[in-house]
Symmetry: C2
Subunit: 342 residues, 2 copies
DNA sequence: TTGTAGGCGTTATCAA
DNA sequence: TTGATAACGCCTACAA
């Protein structure tokens, strides 16, 4: 039913070949012909069939991203900004973005990745929430399939990525809290299998040592990157015989839960207890109180990741394949420093 | 490079036809042959080429969704839950989800939709944030292209959708506030071109009249569905000579901004001033204080929308094409009613 | 129950 | 500068 290249060619009394080349901007077609072709294409609403083009070119002209979503309705730890960044950059290059979601390490996840790769539905994949012993990394590397990630992998696994230095960021936050006089600083992390957990915990520990603050295993608890997880973890900390005076969360979502828990105890976050976040791929929005955190340019990173991926796909040289951005500390109300609002 | 159906057929000493039918579950193939084929397919990691299949079947086996994102980094008013719902349901049916983002009514948006439709990249489209005089609706209807929406259209435009009754929801909220003794109840809406703005404003006005509360044009202001917009709009309201005692927001994000504004005036939301939200396609997460709002089963709606769309695509009968869910009121701290936290 | 053959709409090679 | 032709990988009517 939709108009195809033959309809167009017949109407113009030209060969299919010529029409195809005129539209793809080849040089060996007369300006006049090109003009006519383009005009007619517009008029008839012609747009090449994706499938036919893909089949012929052996290229999907699409990239894939699978949301690592622990549960359908539970805090997916990826932000819309990230997705928008991927989508926009893909679209800008006339690529599609294919999206699914699956719980980390589930059979479903394996199925989805295999479908993308083996069905050649996409030419490349974007990974986020990289894990220790990440089967996705192994699989893609072994298959020689192009991919980029939002974090580095475990030592040994080398692949292209763009990230903000988690370890350094955490150290900056600890340092900031220590300067406020805090010595009992707790950390609420995420699942142990996450690279960001490894890094941020390491940064926390480094910071504690450097600041000469108290190192106590009881001050290190586990959440799940969600606000609900942060809420529960904060309860545990507040129930300690000697509770911390500052709570650092692995990400902003967790911190939101912490703030809630503090409120529920009739305490004031930022006054009775300092709270910090870390704005990984979680969303950044108005928080109450405003959260002291590390800035994370999610949209830009997503956008750059796609650019990188496209270069990889097109076998162009990628000048910088491992990008580590320096963290930027955002000091706000939640760490007890008075701020004025704009 | 990837294994195709011919490789598989050769290895098995079977014809391509037989292999194809064995995998597609046709009945006219012997159980033994089927077993061998499936086994070999698994072993060789065969998965049919998407493009070839699409071309042959004249079906993209994909659905599209374009995020209506006012700005890259500014409060995209659609939640991940919605996207996850679309993606999961699509994947469950072996369909892909194609995703992009574009500002409402922009040239970019037009380009993206046209690409999807004319390039036959998808078989159907999911619309959200339906607008008055929505060119997308006109375009898709006129093109006879299958689509479903997350809200009804303007009177006259009939197409399949699933929504929570906005008008009724707002009336419930107003009623709730009136019962708390509020008479000066304000409303912060969104862009006038949105159907949800029309509906929720109408529900607000109905509720005000029904409750005999004060109807004052100054109590009706405009935001942009984002927390930042809510913050600004709330400032305007709080600056009034006679400010309202309750502020209703068109969505939860806006309400978050309102809460912040109230805090910044050293007032306590839920005590000095009641606040309500409305959880449309915005995200639901821990808010502080917990927001009195209308529940919106975003994930389920997204999921059902895809099911509906697939039926449409496959020309199956859709039993209910216009689904209006009854709103559920969630009363929490922000409207001044004491709650106990679990 | 299995195989042969044609064609989906492009792009690319080669010849005119 | 333009045109005829083949091929991408799959599905399916039809034949065996």
């Amino acid at each position: 039913m939709p108009v195809n290249i033959r309809d167009l060619a017949e109407r113009l009394n030209l060969s299919i070949t010529t029409v195809s080349r005129a539209l793809d901007g080849y040089h060996d077609v007369s300006p006049e012909t090109r003009r006519r072709v383009i005009e007619a294409a517009q008029e008839m609403g012609y747009s090449p069939s994706r499938a036919a083009r893909q089949l012929r070119k052996q290229q999907a002209e699409a990239v894939g991203f699978i949301l690592p979503a622990p549960m359908p309705r539970v805090g997916e730890p990826t932000s819309l900004e990230f997705i928008a960044g991927l989508g926009d950059q893909a679209a800008a290059n006339n690529y599609d973005l294919l999206l699914s979601s699956a719980p980390p390490d589930s059979d479903e996840e394996k199925l989805l990745y295999r479908r993308l790769v083996q069905g050649r539905r996409v030419d490349g994949i974007v990974l986020s929430r990289v894990r220790l012993h990440d089967w996705r990394v192994d699989y893609l590397l072994q298959a020689g399939f192009p991919f980029v990630a939002a974090e580095h992998g475990e030592p040994g696994a080398t692949f292209p990525y763009i990230e903000v230095d988690s370890k350094a960021g955490m150290r900056m936050l600890v340092d900031h809290l220590a300067r406020q006089g805090h010595r009992r600083i707790a950390f609420i992390g995420g699942p142990a299998y996450l690279i960001i957990q490894m890094d941020r915990l390491a940064g926390y520990l480094d910071g504690i040592v450097a600041a000469g603050a108290i190192h106590d295993e009881r001050y290190i608890v586990t959440g799940d990157l969600s606000a609900a997880g942060g809420y529960r973890a904060a309860q545990t900390l507040l129930d300690l015989a000697v509770p911390p005076t500052a709570i650092m969360a692995i990400n902003d979502r967790t911190a939101v839960g912490v703030v809630r828990a503090i409120h529920d105890r009739k305490l004031v976050p930022g006054k009775d207890l300092a709270v910090t976040g870390f704005d990984g791929l979680g969303d950044s929005d108005f928080k109450e109180p405003e959260l002291t955190t590390i800035d994370y340019p999610v949209y830009q990173i997503a956008s750059r990741l796609v650019m990188m991926l496209l270069k990889l796909i097109q076998h162009e040289a990628v000048d910088e394949a491992q990008v580590v951005l320096q963290p930027e500390l955002l000091v706000r109300d939640s760490s007890g420093v008075e701020q004025s609002h704009g």
